[in-house]
């Protein structure tokens, strides 16, 4: 049933400890980047992530530079500074997503290795199943980490829009970024509104 399956999904914080099914599987502690076993296979993925990140970073830097140039020419402080903040956030988001993806990929690799090793250890079906679920959870976390693309994309659009606005010297101040609420604050607010 859906609800049962649902309960199997775990949250994906980078610090989440990896559960193991056997004592022998203790090696599945959060993967170390220096671990030779796990650092072999994600190399391709790491390289690809690196290229995307590099491109995003250089784009962010270019835009940031352009924003600073506009600021000094126009003597206007507001917009370009906001743009710098937005672009800084893009850089942070991409870095976080990459770190999280790499961590989860390496943890999944480690999990696969444990299952592979179990072939010579006479594991029960339940043990193997539990370990595979663990690997699956890491893969789900990698999927979720890709949401940075959506957020970064929105931020870049916002920055580009603000930059274009500054270039054609259209006054209007741009959106003053109100404070973003956290999920907990949103839940509380919704509860009050819907009561």
């Amino acid at each position: 049933m859906a609800t049962k399956t649902a309960t199997k999904i775990r949250k994906a914080p980078a610090k989440a400890p990896i559960k193991t099914v056997a004592k022998a599987a203790k090696v599945a502690k959060p993967a170390k980047l220096t671990d030779t076993v796990v650092s072999r296979q994600p190399a391709k993925a790491r390289a690809e992530t690196g290229v995307v990140l590099q491109e995003l970073k250089s784009l962010a830097k270019e835009l940031s530079k352009a924003a600073k140039g506009l600021e000094s020419r126009n003597g206007k402080k507001g917009q370009p500074k906001e743009i710098s903040t937005v672009l800084g956030n893009v850089e942070r988001m991409t870095a976080e997503a990459a770190t999280k993806s790499l961590y989860e990929a390496e943890a999944a690799q480690q999990g696969v290795k444990i299952v592979r090793d179990s072939l010579s250890k006479n594991w029960s079906r339940e043990q193997i199943e539990a370990q595979l679920k663990d690997v699956s959870a890491h893969l789900t976390n990698i999927v979720v980490a890709q949401e940075f693309q959506d957020l970064a994309g929105q931020s870049l659009r916002q920055a580009i829009k603000a930059l274009v606005g500054a270039i054609i010297m259209v006054e209007g101040g741009g959106p003053t970024e109100d404070r973003r609420l956290s999920q907990t604050e949103i839940d509380g607010l919704l509860q009050n509104l819907m009561a």
Partner: protein, 130 residues
């Protein structure tokens, strides 16, 4: 309780990556009947032409945004009871108020986790007796 795994979802987001993420998460939660729409206008057409049990929508989209889609859904006699979950980067107080006033069933702010999605969906299911 109904067999929730048979529910049909419509995921609305202009970013294909995001649609894919939500689709994947729903699959992990046991929901395999998932359709997608790239904006509110396409979504509304799909909702009118097919039967869906749940809508998961972004806010900022071209053509028709998520809030307008939500208002259109609530204004349509055939669709007004549809559970509607907003997943968006819009996290200002006025956004939340507007969504609540328009009749959103739930609101998730990006970035979010699989656990948050599960929690909000369970809450909506319980509230709507699904």
């Amino acid at each position: 309780m109904a067999d929730r795994s048979a529910y049909k979802f419509l995921v609305v987001d202009d970013f294909s990556t995001m649609r894919r993420i939500v689709r994947n998460l729903l699959k992990e939660l046991g929901f395999t009947h998932v359709d997608e729409a790239e904006d509110g206008a396409v979504a509304l057409d799909k909702l009118k032409a097919n039967k869906y049990d749940f809508v998961v929508s972004d806010w900022n989209m071209p053509n028709m945004d998520g809030l307008t889609l939500l208002q259109s859904v609530r204004a349509d006699a055939n669709l007004k009871g549809l559970p509607f979950l907003m997943i968006t980067a819009e996290a200002k107080k006025e956004n939340i108020i507007a969504a609540a006033q328009a009749g959103a069933s739930g609101y998730i702010v990006k970035p979010f986790t699989a656990g948050t999605l599960q929690e909000k969906m369970d809450k909506i299911f319980d509230k709507m007796g699904m």
